[in-house]
Structures are given as C-alpha cells and as structure tokens.
Amino acid sequence: MINKFKVKSLKLKVFLLFTFYFSLFTFLCACTPQKEKVYRKTKILMDTLVTISVVSNSKGDAEKAIDAAFSEIEKLEKLLNFFSPDSEVSLINKNAGISEVKVSPDTLNILDKALSVSEKTDGAFDVTIGPVITLYDFHKKIRPEENAIKKNLPLVNYKELIITRNKSTAFLKKRGMLIDLGGISKGYAADRAVEILKKRGINSGLVSIAGDIKAFGLKPDGKSWNIGIRNPRAKGQEDDIMATIELKDMAISTSGDYERSFIIGEERYHHLLNPKTGYPAKGFRSVSIITKEGTFTDAFSTGIFVLGPEKGTKVLEAMGFDGIIVDSNGKIYTTPGIKGKVALK
C-alpha cells in the first residue's frame, strides 16, 4: 500500500515537472521578441532602380516606412525631373532669360547645394551643363559636332544661375540655359529617404538609388552594410565587383566612364562632361566618394572625376572625404580614412 502510494506520488511529481518545463518552453517561445530582419523593397523611380532595405522586427512597420520613403523620392522626382514638362526644373529652364521662378524648399535647397559644390570644384561640377549634355545621345551612340558644342558652351555657367533664398526663386540669366540635376538629385533623394525612415522609427537601413547609396545603423547581425564597388572594366560576372566597403552612417556614390557611354574607334564617350570643354573628362575610370551626405557624394564624385587626378585629389583632401579611385591605367587608390574597411578583390 505504502509502495503503491510512493509510486503514485512519484508519477505525480514527474507529471508536474513535465508540465512545468513544457509551460516554460511554450512561454519562452511566445515571449521571445520577434527577431529583427532586413525587409527590402524595390521600385523604379527617377528613371532607375531604387532599393530600400530596413531593419525591423515588424514587417508592417518596415513596409510602411519604406513606402513613405518611396513617396518622398517620388515627390522629389516630380520636382526635379529634367524630362518632365511639369517639373520645377523644367519651369526654371523654360523661363531662362525671361523671369525668375518661385520654387519649393527642396528645389531651392538642392540648387543651393549644387552651387556650393560648383564653387568648391571650380565649376567641374555644374548643373547648367544641360545645353551640352543634350547634344549627346548615349543610347544611339551619337556624339555632337564640334560646332554644336562650341555654340552651346557659353550657355554653361553655374555663376549665371541665381537663387534668391528670401524670395525662394531661381533664375537662369541667359535664354537657352538648361539646368540638369541628374548629377546631384539621386544623392539628395537618398538623404531625404533616410530622414523619412528615421522619422518612422527605423534605426538601421540602406537606401540605394542606382549607384547613390546611403547606409545608417547596423544590420541585424551587428555588422556594417557591405557595399560592392563596380569594376569599371568588368569583362564578366566574376570580376563585376572590384572591391567591397563596409559602411555605417555614411553615403557613397560612384561616377564612372562606363555608365551611359559608347566607344567610337579608340575613343570612349561618356556622360561625365567637362563643363569647360563640352567633351568627356579624362584621367579616371571611376571615382567613388564617401561622406555623410548623399548629396555631396553624388555631386563631388562627378566634380572630382571631371577635375582629374591632380586637382581632383586635392579637392578630395581639402573636403576631408574618403574615396576609392581608379585611374585611367586601372590603378586603384584609396584614402587613409577607409583603411581596414575596404576589401579589394
């Protein structure tokens, strides 16, 4: 009888123990906070592929934040698109030599920043390049006649783009002048998109608008964002990326002679035109610039590319930016500030 009672009591203890452990297990499963993940969405905006990645523990929150950032980029696209007749940029261009145009704070801000980059690069970056760049057709491989370049070159001068802050206006002094913000708008949009994501409570993410990338925070594994830098002379998929760089709270942009380009004979015609000559700049194959603001990485990568090795590296140093540069012989240079963060392949 005693024995039977002991066995029953033992069974009860074992049962209770099992119940306790099982409850604990299910409780822990339920209470463990949902793991942080990278949520990614892609959209065609600004005539290119825009990918936004965010780190979040909620799919719903992540998607809402990404959609808000996409809306911001869409809004900027409407203001800044060179080809859209209703954009503020087109309005400024149509009124060139006629009247000043009232513009939104975003347009004013981006024009202001563009002019400051023009000053710092001695006009190597110039948003008034429109009358010359429109003479080229990089899809149809059309290069302009020398006379056509000579005729339009006097219309390229950033000093004749007047912005008046207190009136929120922009004015191109000469008829026929055209501003094209293609060399700065994507970087600016990346900055704005990151601001929107942060406002929505996202602490870590990556905004990539073609080659203009802005990273903030860390990935769920605690590592920095890993950015690949394209090989300007890639022959196949294997050597498509020449280096990788780890980024956190930084932006990167690359200007390369391989984008929007064609070759006639031995000559490579690309979109990075020297505003002083109207012809594609020589000296570099690609220039990648790293700093906090995407607006500056975008514009300075173009400006420094156009300036060439001697003057370009001086501006890079003076601005305190980091960079990865491939010269015309294929030699790769990196600035000391990114030592240990770059892996060459």
Partner: protein, 131 residues
Amino acid sequence: MNSGLKGILNSTTIADRLLLFILILLSSSGVVFVKEILPKGRTVQIEADSLPVYRLPIDEEKTVSVKGPHGNTIVEIKNHKVRIIESPCPNKLCIQQGWIESGAVVCLPNRVVVIIGDIDSKDRKVVDAVT
C-alpha cells in the same frame, strides 16, 4: 491493439516515458527553429510596375511572361542564370545585358525588374548594394 499498446505502456518505466517526452519536445521545438537555421535557396523575383509577379527558384528551368505597360517581357531562367529574351522596349538594353547570376536586370521603359536574391547562407559574404 489497444491492449497491446497498454501492455507496452505498462512495461515502460518512468525513465522511459521521460525520455519519450523529452524526444517529442525536442522534435517539436525543431519545427520552430529549423526555419531560422537552414539557409534559404536563391530565388528569382520578378516585378512589374513595382508589384511582385513571380518568385521562382533559380535552379528550375523556366520561361515566364510578365505584363508591363508596353506589353510582355519574357524572362528565362536556365542553368542558375536569368536573362530577358523578349521585351517591347525601344532600346532593348535589358536584352543586351544577357545572362546574370547575381544582381538585377531592369527594363525601365516596361517597368519590369528581375532580381536574384535571398542568399542567406551564413558563409557567403553578401553585398548589400552596388555602386
């Protein structure tokens, strides 16, 4: 049958039952964790006008048609590679890109995006974006 099962149960000790319970517990917990631990395969994601249309494994040969604003874009998956073989766009730049093993092929005019992704394998160094 019932008496057989009863017999088996009667012939087991408390330790046996404890072991059985632990095994069941471990197996069921595996269902929860295995999804997180195992690497996911590579997939081809096809989007038209910013909306996902297909999500296909890269290791299966397949040719699919995706409708964009200008017409149908034909995407081919073969030998772990992807390419666009037909497109209504004027420049055919997407077709000229040829086969890709990573990254994306985009047809801007027809707003079709083909992305190779989901490489979650721990030992592969993933590039998060390319400049």
